[in-house]
Amino acid sequence: MTVRASRSYAAIIGCGRTKFSELWDDSMSDLMLDSLISALKTADIEFKDIEAMFVGNFIAAKIIDQGLVAGELAQSLGTHIPIFRLEGACASAGLAFYNACLGIKSGKFDIVAVTGVEKMTDRGEIVTDALAAAASNWERFYGNTFPGLYANIMARHMYEYGTTREQLAMVSVKNHQHAINNKFAQYPFPIKIDSVLKSPLVADPIRLLDCSPVSDGASSVILCNPEIAKRYTETPVYVTGAGAATDALALFAREDFTGLTATKLAAQQAFTEAKIEQKDVNILELHDCFTIEEVTALEDMKFVEKGEGGPFIGEAVDSFKGSKHIVYPCLSGEIVVNCGGGLKADGHPVGATGSRQICELWEQLVGIAGKKQVDLDTDLTTGVAHNIGGTGGVGSVHVLQI
């Protein structure tokens, strides 16, 4: 057994996902099952091998009036295994993955599945209301919405650091470029910077193409005890660092909101546990729910200096002449961020995003990402997933290594 395996939480032996889109024909159960079945196939195991499940879901109770998602899933699967539903708004699946890792690490389970799912399009007319449940009562009372809160963050960042609208628009341009070869992506096409800057205003300064979309979808991950991982695959991916943190629910209750403390703390924990530094990271799936969040997350995770995220992204995207991924020249190493299009272009079924990020990193690290496989001069060994709930009321960061 390798050193890496011995100090890891768990090994990923398979992943699966559905397309992220407006999936009018699929129910929440359909989505969970479809993603779980593909994950089981990639791991080459059967559902009866799964000892427990950890499900990430945010708003089923609001959108489709379905509470007790665990029971719904048990019924669809005809199972009686323990199923835990974790809720952390858009970081629900990140938290489910974190707890699944603990489930393996504790020795209680040898093989578990993580499924993140969200069915958002059934009640388009109340999606804004439902998502605002991840804001505080005070923010909602004064009419704020989710885009509105991130617009507050964006405006303050622009005010304090001179981050420009153009630099922020580049985030969308880059993530759409990354989605081109992603057959599961909601928007697998490139967009121009002008389209972002001229898209309809949603919550000034945020425009429509700054926002991740409303999506349906699910994604699943199969985790096993690292000591037995090689029984299932030649290429297990190890979870070597796991961090989770919380913060005041409301922006106004924080000292500063040009960055997210939950990201900083979760990243610190995960990086320390994995004994890695920023330069060791090859690929990063970060939570670009709105363009500003890609900027602040890069800063909070110390890939760039505080306040320099905007120009950094702007230059990287501006100088791109290739055909595939836009590489960020971070510190001493190159890094590709949001390899399949991120939340912006791949889609953002909120409860499914955290596990979708793990799926993406797993495919890339194993080298089976197909046309969207990242080509860097160095081998891909280390990936990081960053998942945020609300405006940073909760956050998780995981380090995956092969």
């Binding site: 209301d129 923010e139 009372f141 004064y142 300064p205 945020i206």
Partner: protein
């Protein structure tokens, strides 16, 4: 949000009650049980952020164009975090126009100086409760030169007017705008009724918000502890609820609860002045004065008019509050007389959306008969003539009636002009003659006499006579003068006006 939830947070919503940690100097809004920085729970002091002199700026903001279903009626609007003396407060920025162009949040909004205003936030549907709270707006000239507690200087033997507060909205509509909409001749209204323009409130303003703002300004003028206000009457013909008092909203918002009485009054445009004798008598009565140190009368309206009706050209909006007591009286009452008959010149049945009126019948047999009746009775009781008064203020349904009434009583135009506000403000209904009274007090010297004559359709009139004191001059810096409030108002077009009035259906 549920009614229990709305009520539970009322003091932080209405008065911005926050916590200051005396151990680590942390500042928190809304108020906390435990200091999140140092964990202490014994040394948290409650502070109200609207009592610190209206200073603050916008910390960050966003113009919300796609609100939750609870807030669609008010979109687009600005949701923001503002900083007040080191406290961060979630709120909305109001009295700020949002066009279809992007609002430059970074350059125009962040860092903007703001002042708090009590406004409607949303309502739980057509039949549900109305939710109020504190918003902020760009600060203008409407700041007090002096604020905070006022050290008492003189206690009188008899009760009188201690202070007044006027709130007028920041928007206006011209008669040309209305004439253009309905194809009438603006000159008819300009010359015939001496109407030029009128104040109109924002979409989030109503009789309740006007009452609260006027009351707060009156409290600042008096410099008294609102807990010492023992009875409040709100006079209006356009309360936000058909059944549920506006008085309770005011009492809560100014911090007068719970040991306070009062009620809403209705008598068309004399709903407020009708309570003045009661307000004075309670403070004067030997038995009652033990529990009635100060009383407050508010006249406030956001009156409705059928679009295109003559009333549409004249109904104004705003509120006026008067506080009565014995401490530092600015005007002493000389006498009161009333005149009342059953004369239906203006009315609204319960299910009718707009009031009906008797056209020319509202003149001689209604307005003039009652106004002249009350004024003559009082002047005769006091053995005074028009020459004995420095100023006279009448109810002002238009700019012509008060002048004609004054002339009939022997007053000169110079005695009427200082209090004639309808030409620029419109008819404030319950606040109409109180507004004229306040505008007169703004410029009056000490030891001057004022005759105040109200009129309420239905019909009745209250006349009262006053003599000003030195305290009027001493406390003047604590007011926001009426005429300052009509400077720089922004003009609404008829569609914006109709949306604010609720006559634009959507």
């Amino acid at each position: 949000m549920s009614v229990p939830y709305v009520r539970r947070n009322l003091e932080s919503r209405y008065r911005l009650i926050a916590s200051h940690c005396e151990t680590c100097n942390g500042n928190y809004f809304p108020k906390r049980k435990i200091c999140p920085k140092c964990g202490n729970n014994d040394h948290l002091k409650e502070v109200s952020l609207i009592e610190n002199g209206h200073l603050g700026y916008v910390f960050s903001a966003s113009a919300i164009r796609h609100p939750a279903t609870t807030h669609t009626r008010y979109a687009p609007y600005i949701s923001a975090v503002v900083e007040l003396d080191g406290y961060k407060v979630p709120t909305m920025i109001t009295d700020f126009e949002i066009s279809s162009d992007e609002v430059d949040i970074v350059n125009d909004i962040i860092g903007m100086a703001i002042e708090p205003v009590f406004r409607r936030i949303t309502e739980q549907g057509e039949e549900g409760v109305i939710e109020y709270g504190m918003k902020f707006r760009p600060s203008q000239s409407s700041l007090f030169k002096e604020y905070g507690p006022y050290t008492p200087k003189k206690i009188s033997r008899k009760a009188g007017l201690v202070s007044y507060g006027v709130y007028l909205p920041r928007y206006k509509v011209t008669v040309e705008q209305i004439s253009k909409t309905f194809g009438t001749n603006a000159e008819t209204y300009r010359r015939g009724l001496a109407l030029e323009e009128k104040g109109v409130g924002n979409l989030d303003e109503d009789t309740g918000t006007y009452s609260v703002e006027a009351a707060r300004r009156a409290i600042n003028h008096a410099g008294i502890d609102p807990q010492k206000i023992d009875r409040i009457w709100v006079g209006s013909e356009s309360p936000p609820y058909a059944v549920k008092p506006t008085t309770t909203i005011v009492a809560e918002a100014i911090g007068a609860t719970p040991y306070v009485g009062g009620s809403d009054r209705e008598f068309a445009c004399k709903a407020a002045t009708d309570a003045i004798p009661d307000a004075i008598a309670l403070v004067n009565d030997e038995l009652m004065s033990k529990t009635h140190e100060y009383t407050m009368v508010i006249g406030s309206d956001k009156a409705q008019a059928r679009p295109g009706d003559p009333l549409d050209y004249s109904v104004g909006e705003g509120g006026v509050a008067l506080i009565f007591g014995k401490t530092d009286v600015i005007a002493e009452p000389l006498g009161v007389a009333s005149y009342l008959t059953d004369t239906p010149d203006f009315w609204r049945r319960e299910t009718a959306k707009f009031p009906s009126h008797g056209g020319r019948f509202t003149g001689d047999p209604s307005y003039f008969k009652h106004v002249l009746g009350a004024a003559k009775k009082l002047m005769s009781d006091l053995e005074m003539t028009s020459k004995d008064f420095n100023y006279v203020v009448f109810h002002q349904p238009n700019g012509k009636f008060p002048i004609r009434a004054g002339t009939k009583l022997g007053f000169e135009i110079e005695q009427i002009k200082p209090g004639l506000m309808v030409t620029k403000c419109g008819n404030l209904y319950s606040g109409s003659s109180p507004l004229g009274f306040a505008a007169t007090l703004d410029i009056a010297q000490d030891n001057e006499k004022i005759l105040l004559v109200s009129y309420g359709s239905g019909a009745g009139s209250d006349a009262s006579a006053w003599i000003t004191t030195e305290a009027l001059l001493e406390k003047r810096e604590r007011t926001i003068p009426v005429r300052d409030q009509i400077e720089g108002r922004k003009e609404m077009d008829y569609l914006q006006y109709a949306r604010s009035k609720g006559t634009l259906m959507f």
